[in-house]
C-alpha cells in the first residue's frame, strides 16, 4: 500500500493536452509575424495606423504573445495560485475561440477590411478571453490562497478583458459610431491596457516566481512584489485618467515614472534572487530570460524620446517603441521561458513515474542546445540590426534584421518541434 501525506501539498499540474496547442499556435504566429515584418519594412516611415503595422502588431501581440502566455499560464496557474486549474474545458474553449478569432483580426487589418471580418475576429477573441478570465477567477477563488502572485494573475486577466473589450468597441466604432471620438484616438489606451495591464503585470507575476525557482534561489520579498503590483496598476490607471481627460502630455511622465520604478524594483528583485542562487551554473534559457528583464528598460528609453519628440510625431521612433516591446522584451522572455517550460511539459508526458528506474533524459535534453544557441545569437543580432535600421531609416539594415528575426522564428519552431515529437528513450 502506498500513501502520500504530511503537511505539504503537491502542486497539481495541468494536462499537456490543454497546454501544447497554444505553443504550436504561437510558434506558427511567430513565423507569420516575422514574414510580414520582412515584407513590409517600409512601414516604419508611415503612421502607426496603417494596415500592415496593425496586422504585424496583432499577429505578434495576439498570435505570438497572447497565445503562448495563455498556454504557459494554464500550465503555471497551479504554481501561482497554489491550487489547480479549475476547468480544462474552458481552457480548450479559450484556445478554440481565440485561435479562430485571431486570423480574422489579422487578415481584417492586413486587407483593411474593417467590417464583418475584423468584427467577427474581435467577438471570437473576446469570447476566448472571457473563458480564460472565468477559468482564472474560479481557479483562484477555489484555491483559497490569495498571495501576491495570485493577485498579479487575476488582475492581469481583468486588464486583458478590458483590452480586448475596448478593441471590440474600437472595431465596431469603425463602421458605426459608438464612442465620442474616432477609433484612432483610443489606440494608445487600447495598446497600453494590453502592454502594461496584461503583458507586464502577468510576466512580472510569473517571472518573479519562476526565475528564482529555476535558479534554485531562496530569495523572497513579497513587500517588494506588492510595491511592484501597486506601481504598475497606478501607472496604468493614471495614464487612462490623463488620456481620457486629455491632459497635457507632460502628465504622462508621472505614469511612466511609476512603471519605470516598478521595473527597476523587479530588476532588483531578480538581481538579488540571482545573487543568492544555489545553482551556480545558469543555463542558456535562463540567460535569455535574464536578458529580457534588462530589455524591459529599453522601451522606456524610447518612450522618453517619443514624449520628447511628440509634437513632431516622428513615426519611426513611435514604431521603435512598439518594436522594442513585441520583438524585444516579450519575444526574449518567450524564447527563454519556452525552453524552460515546454521540456518540462513533454518530460512529464513522457517520463512521469519512470525516473526511479534510472536516470531519464533531463528536460533540457529534449531540445537541441546548438540550435537554441544559434537562435539566441541570431535573435540578438537581428534585434539590434533592426533597431539601428529603424533609427537610421535604412532599408538594407531593416531587411537584414527582419531576415535574422525570421531565421530566429524558424529555428524556434524547429526546436520546439524536436521537443514536441520526442519519443521516450529506453532507460
Amino acid at each position: 500500500m502506498l500513501a502520500l501525506g504530511g503537511p505539504g501539498n503537491l502542486q497539481q499540474t495541468t494536462s499537456y493536452k490543454v497546454v501544447l496547442p497554444f505553443y504550436v499556435y504561437a510558434g506558427i504566429s511567430f513565423i507569420v509575424g516575422t514574414i510580414m515584418l520582412l515584407l513590409h519594412t517600409d512601414v516604419i516611415q508611415s503612421h502607426y495606423f496603417n494596415p500592415f503595422t496593425l496586422a504585424i502588431t496583432h499577429v505578434m501581440a495576439l498570435g505570438w504573445g497572447l497565445m503562448i502566455i495563455f498556454g504557459a499560464s494554464h500550465q503555471l496557474v497551479p504554481v501561482l495560485i497554489e491550487g489547480k486549474l479549475d476547468s480544462n474545458s474552458l481552457a480548450y474553449a479559450t484556445f478554440l475561440f481565440a485561435g479562430i478569432g485571431i486570423p480574422f483580426i489579422v487578415a481584417g487589418f492586413y486587407g483593411f477590411n474593417l467590417g464583418w471580418m475584423i468584427q467577427t475576429g474581435a467577438v471570437l477573441v473576446n469570447i476566448g478571453v472571457l473563458c480564460y478570465l472565468a477559468n482564472i477567477l474560479t481557479s483562484a477563488f477555489k484555491s483559497g490562497k490569495h498571495d501576491v502572485h495570485s493577485w498579479f494573475v487575476v488582475t492581469a486577466a481583468l486588464w486583458l478583458f478590458a483590452t480586448t473589450f475596448l478593441g471590440l468597441l474600437l472595431v465596431l466604432n469603425f463602421t458605426k459610431p459608438l464612442l465620442p471620438s474616432d477609433s484612432v484616438a483610443y489606440l494608445t489606451i487600447h495598446a497600453h491596457l494590453g502592454i502594461v495591464g496584461w503583458f507586464l503585470l502577468l510576466v512580472i507575476g510569473v517571472a518573479s516566481r519562476l526565475i528564482p525557482m529555476f535558479l534554485i534561489s531562496k530569495y523572497t520579498n513579497n513587500k517588494s512584489l506588492w510595491w511592484i503590483y501597486v506601481l504598475i496598476n497606478s501607472s496604468l490607471i493614471s495614464f487612462l485618467f490623463f488620456k481620457l481627460f486629455n491632459l497635457d502630455s507632460y502628465f504622462y511622465y508621472i505614469s511612466m515614472i511609476m512603471a519605470l520604478a516598478a521595473i527597476l524594483l523587479f530588476t532588483r528583485h531578480i538581481k538579488r534572487a540571482h545573487k543568492v542562487r544555489i545553482r551556480k551554473n545558469v543555463d542558456e534559457q535562463m540567460k535569455i530570460s535574464l536578458l529580457s528583464v534588462l530589455q524591459m528598460l529599453l522601451p522606456f528609453v524610447v518612450l522618453i524620446a517619443v514624449l520628447f519628440l511628440l509634437p513632431t510625431e516622428k513615426n519611426n521612433i513611435i514604431l521603435l517603441y512598439g518594436f522594442c516591446i513585441f520583438f524585444g522584451w516579450l519575444t526574449a522572455i518567450i524564447l527563454g521561458m519556452t525552453f524552460k517550460t515546454l521540456p518540462f511539459i513533454i518530460w512529464n508526458r513522457t517520463y512521469h513515474k519512470k525516473a526511479h528506474a534510472g536516470k531519464t533524459p533531463a528536460p533540457k535534453e529534449l531540445f537541441n542546445p546548438r540550435i537554441y544557441n544559434a537562435m539566441a545569437i541570431i535573435y540578438v543580432v537581428g534585434f539590434v540590426i533592426f533597431i539601428v535600421g529603424i533609427v537610421l531609416i535604412n532599408n538594407v539594415l531593416l531587411k537584414t534584421g527582419a531576415i535574422a528575426l525570421l531565421i530566429t522564428a524558424l529555428l524556434y519552431v524547429f526546436n520546439t518541434t524536436i521537443a514536441l515529437t520526442h519519443k521516450p528513450k529506453k532507460i
Binding site: 525557482m213 551554473n281 512521469h352
Partner: protein, 109 residues
C-alpha cells in the same frame, strides 16, 4: 546532508539509499539523496512498514508529483513486501546546507 534512519538493520538502509540514488530531480539533474530531499527513513521491522519523509526544493515545484511518485516507486521496488508511506514536508524547508558535498560540486560550488 544527513538522513535520520531508524533501523537496526544497516543493510536495509543501504538498499533503500542505493535505489534512491537513481531517483533524479529532472530539472536539477541531481539525485534526491545528494540533493538532500530525503529527511528521514523509519523502518518498522515488526509491521514491515517503511515511512519516508522527504521535501522538495520549493513548495511550488511543478515536478513535485513526479519526484515523490518516483521515490515511492523506488522504495516499493526495493521492498516489495513492505508497506511504503512517503510523507512530504516543508518543515524544515529545504536549503543549501542539505546538499551533499558531491551535490554542491555538481551545482558549481
Amino acid at each position: 546532508m544527513s538522513i535520520n534512519v531508524t533501523t537496526n538493520n544497516q543493510d536495509k538502509c543501504t538498499e533503500a539509499l542505493s535505489g534512491l540514488y537513481n531517483v533524479y530531480d529532472p530539472e536539477v539533474g541531481l539525485n534526491v539523496v545528494d540533493l538532500g530531499l530525503i529527511y528521514q527513513l523509519d523502518f518498522n521491522d515488526d509491521e514491515k512498514q517503511l515511512d519516508a519523509t522527504m521535501t522538495l526544493t520549493t513548495q511550488f515545484c511543478p515536478m513535485g508529483e513526479s519526484i515523490t511518485g518516483d521515490v515511492t516507486q523506488s522504495l516499493t521496488t526495493t521492498f516489495p513486501e513492505w508497506k511504503i508511506n512517503v510523507n512530504l514536508t516543508f518543515d524544515p524547508p529545504w536549503d543549501y546546507s542539505k546538499i551533499s558535498p558531491a551535490g554542491k560540486e555538481f551545482l558549481g560550488h
